[in-house]
């Protein structure tokens, strides 16, 4: 990529350092990597330093520093991918391409890389190839894909799998991704004409009345933390600031979660309308959809929807003829970082920086994006608020349970006959859900993703609600053939090690130490002290800065709590100490180097 083109890209974003993510994403997309020569140019033009640009580049998984192949394959390595045969798929990629994962073929044609969950857990194993999603991969399909790569075919012709249902088949998406909507509840019910709330309802509601209505509905945030949405809007409305922002958090990175992907595909108008509604309520004029890079294949379509809504006067100036109701939305992509799902890390990222969570307070409603009061809501929350305005808070309050109102969209994957998304009223038991998804012989369920809890059959009568088993929606099922420690806990710990932003010492180190301990136990060298250490060390995670860091030891904590016998049966009985130190092995190298025979 020549420097003129780099200059052009920077100019497209007004040489604004807070748009560094966009600048880098454009360069990455065009060149396939971030050339070292581009960095000083960006630094100079955006009036920052090279170190400033470097720290952002180095933070994100999808920013490559080296050419990563004409075709860059990112094969998902989440737990469900392995359960669905990732090993064979990966091996076939390596054999056919002629290079290992983490490498690029000598001719620079194909690069193979691992990536964390890409939000396709109901159709694994899945991969991103130059941003295009390939799902339900098998060795047969991999051979076909690699053969076509070698022929130099364009992305669309690599495979002949056909398109997924719904809008996935539209010209603007053309993805083989399937929606797998297994159960449609009130939020996803197609009883809604886009624009109705903005055009009709807002005639009768002042911003304060909207907030009041949302508060009456008692809806809580659907991203996982469960903060009351009406209260959040009210705080932001009251906060002082010459500008305010509405963010939609579409960075669903929790392995096993994919419901936002379906909402983005099929219900984007509902979501954008929810953002406009929130804008109206808090007095914000700008909205930003922060969406994970893995969903870049939806970009054209989402832009098209925004354009359409502008034409319909559902975005822009004086929306729906309401004087002074101005609101517009832009899309901000991430570049592969789980921690950016944490709202303050998301803001940092949207400002072009490393996605490191901020200290709180101040909370984003007081001091958020660029220092202005900001509301950050999950995709599902925003969709729901529109339905609440349409049908009334009373309607919504009658759904779900007394303290968990409404519905929750679950992403169900793993060992069941019908993986996909299910919109359920709160209050069903785990047993109900397993029954519904067609899961037999279940050994364990991971509720809420790796940062949630791993529960066994004796807890399957617990209910899905904020006060019992709270969840952002991920629901991964493991049957009795799975090795919980080796296949599940280990995979999750590797995920957290990879995804820690590195700011807080416990989050940076303890997951790694826990993994070492777990490996030791699995190899049969464990002693009681190891279990005690794991429990004690995991306790230190609570001093991490953000919610993600605080829960990053949960795979170990909850498996130790609910599957303790699995650990205990692997521990050496009657042995107090075993660090596996072996003097013979430890001296071999140095003896060879100096030319002497080890004498022990």
């Amino acid at each position: 990529m020549d420097s003129n083109r780099v200059e052009e890209i920077i100019a497209n974003y007004n040489r604004d350092k807070t748009r560094l993510m966009d600048i880098l994403i454009d360069i990455q997309t065009e060149a396939g990597y971030i050339p070292a020569t581009a960095i000083p140019v960006i630094a100079k033009r955006t009036d920052t330093s090279q170190a400033y640009v470097e720290q952002t580049v180095s933070f994100y998984h999808f920013f490559r520093r080296e050419p990563s192949g004409k075709y860059t394959v990112f094969l998902n390595n989440s737990v469900v991918a392995f359960m669905m045969g990732r090993d064979k798929v990966a091996r076939t990629f390596e054999e056919e391409a002629g290079c290992k994962f983490g490498e690029v073929t000598e001719n620079g044609l194909i690069g193979l890389f691992d990536t964390a969950c890409i939000g396709m857990s109901d159709q694994e194993p899945a991969a991103l190839i130059n941003g295009k999603v390939f799902t339900r991969l098998t060795p047969f399909r991999v051979r076909e894909i690699v053969r076509n790569m070698k022929k130099g075919k364009p992305l669309d012709e690599l495979s002949t799998s056909g398109y997924g249902g719904g809008k996935n088949a539209s010209d603007l998406i053309r993805a083989e991704v399937r929606n797998n909507v297994q159960r449609q509840g009130p939020v996803m019910e197609n009883d809604y004409t886009p624009g109705t709330v903005l055009r009709e309802k807002l005639k009768h509601f002042s911003p304060d009345e909207v907030i009041w209505e949302i508060k009456l509905s008692e809806i809580r945030g659907r991203g996982g933390a469960g903060f009351p949405t009406g209260l959040k809007w009210e705080f932001c409305r009251r906060a002082q600031g010459e500008k305010k922002y509405i963010f939609c958090n579409a960075d669903e990175g929790e392995p096993g979660t994919f419901k936002d992907r379906v909402l983005l595909t099929e219900y984007s108008e509902l979501m954008f309308e929810g953002m406009a509604l929130a804008g109206y309520a808090v007095g914000a004029t700008e909205g930003i959809l922060y969406i994970r890079y893995e969903y870049k294949y939806l970009e054209k379509y989402l832009k098209h929807v925004l354009e359409k809504m502008r034409k319909q006067n559902l975005l822009g100036k004086n929306i729906a003829g309401k004087e002074g109701f101005d609101f517009d939305i832009r899309i901000q992509y991430g570049a592969g970082a789980y921690v950016c799902g944490e709202e303050s890390a998301l803001l940092e990222s949207a400002e072009g920086k490393r996605g490191e969570p901020r200290f709180k307070p101040p909370f984003p409603v007081e001091k958020g994006y660029l220092g202005y009061p900001t509301v950050i809501n999950n995709v599902e929350t925003l969709c729901t608020t529109v339905k609440i305005m349409q049908f009334g808070s009373e309607w919504y309050r009658n759904l779900g349970t007394h303290e968990s109102r409404g519905t929750k969209i679950l992403s169900i994957s793993g060992d069941c006959r019908y993986p996909g998304i299910y919109e359920m009223e709160w209050g069903y038991s785990v047993n109900d859900i397993l029954d519904m998804a067609g899961a037999d012989d279940v050994q364990a369920v991971q509720v809420g993703g790796p940062s949630g809890s791993l529960i066994g059959p004796d807890e399957f009568d617990r209910t899905i609600c904020y006060s019992d088993l709270s969840t952002g929606g991920s629901f991964i099922i493991f049957n009795n053939t799975r090795d919980i420690l080796q296949d599940v806990v280990m995979n999750f710990m590797e995920f957290f090690i990879e995804e820690s932003c590195g700011s807080c010492v416990p989050c940076r180190n303890i997951p790694w130490l826990l993994k070492q301990k777990l490996e030791k136990i699995l190899q049969g060298h464990g002693v009681w002290k190891d279990i005690e250490d794991m429990e004690e060390w995991a306790g230190m995670m609570r001093i991490n800065r953000c919610g993600l860091g605080q829960t990053a030891a949960n795979p170990v904590v909850s498996s130790l709590k609910n599957f303790r016998a699995l650990y205990e049966e692997k521990i050496q009985k009657g042995k107090r100490f075993d660090e596996g130190f072996n003097l013979e092995k430890a001296v071999i190298e140095s003896c060879e180097a100096v030319g002497r025979i080890p004498l022990i």
Partner: protein
């Protein structure tokens, strides 16, 4: 005097800085000697264990076969083992070599380093069987034997060493106020 606790100390892959810090307890050493007697230790120059000990203080990490042997001796003869100082606990400065292949370290130390390149023309590498064998990396003590307590610091402050020994000898719990465990 027979009820005095018996202490042994050693410096493995360390710089003796922790022992120096130990001596920084100054005149309290007179109090200490009322409470304890020293066995194998550089402080009284006893080379071999002559009796079973109550407390062993280990300075330095484990970098060669001799360190391993001594550390195991300590474990055998001491009821309580304490890693004192950064090197014993984490390998410390010597562990910087852990990132390099050992063969490279040896070449640099004996053949190519600026201070040896002229003086070792025959390219002799230390391989006499009397010499301890280097380990592939520097290990913290607790990866070789069980360690009961850890005293952090580079070196641990004399007061901390004194408080620890006093607590161990009198079998009381050590007081660890916030200032003592905060390091920045």
């Amino acid at each position: 005097m027979s009820n005095r606790k018996v202490i042994a100390t050693t410096s493995l892959a360390g710089c003796f800085g922790c022992h120096m810090s130990f001596l920084d307890i100054d005149e309290r050493i007179l109090d200490l000697i009322q409470l304890v007697e020293f066995n194998k230790s550089p402080i009284d120059d006893i080379k071999k264990f002559t009796k079973e000990c109550d407390i062993g203080l280990i300075e330095g990490g484990v970098c060669n076969s001799e360190n391993v042997e001594i550390l195991k001796e300590f474990r055998k003869h001491c009821k309580i083992l304490v890693s004192f100082g950064e090197c014993a606990i984490m390998g410390g400065l010597p562990a910087l070599r852990n990132t390099l292949p050992i063969e490279e370290c040896i070449r640099e130390a004996y053949l190519e380093g600026p201070s040896v390149s002229d003086s070792n023309e025959e390219g002799i590498l230390p391989n006499d069987e009397e010499l301890p064998m280097l380990l592939n990396k520097v290990y913290p003590c607790h990866e070789v034997v069980k360690i009961d307590y850890f005293l952090p610091g580079c070196p641990p402050r004399a007061d901390l060493i004194w408080d620890t020994l006093y607590a161990l000898v009198t079998e009381q719990e050590i007081k660890l106020p916030y200032e003592v465990i905060k390091y920045d």
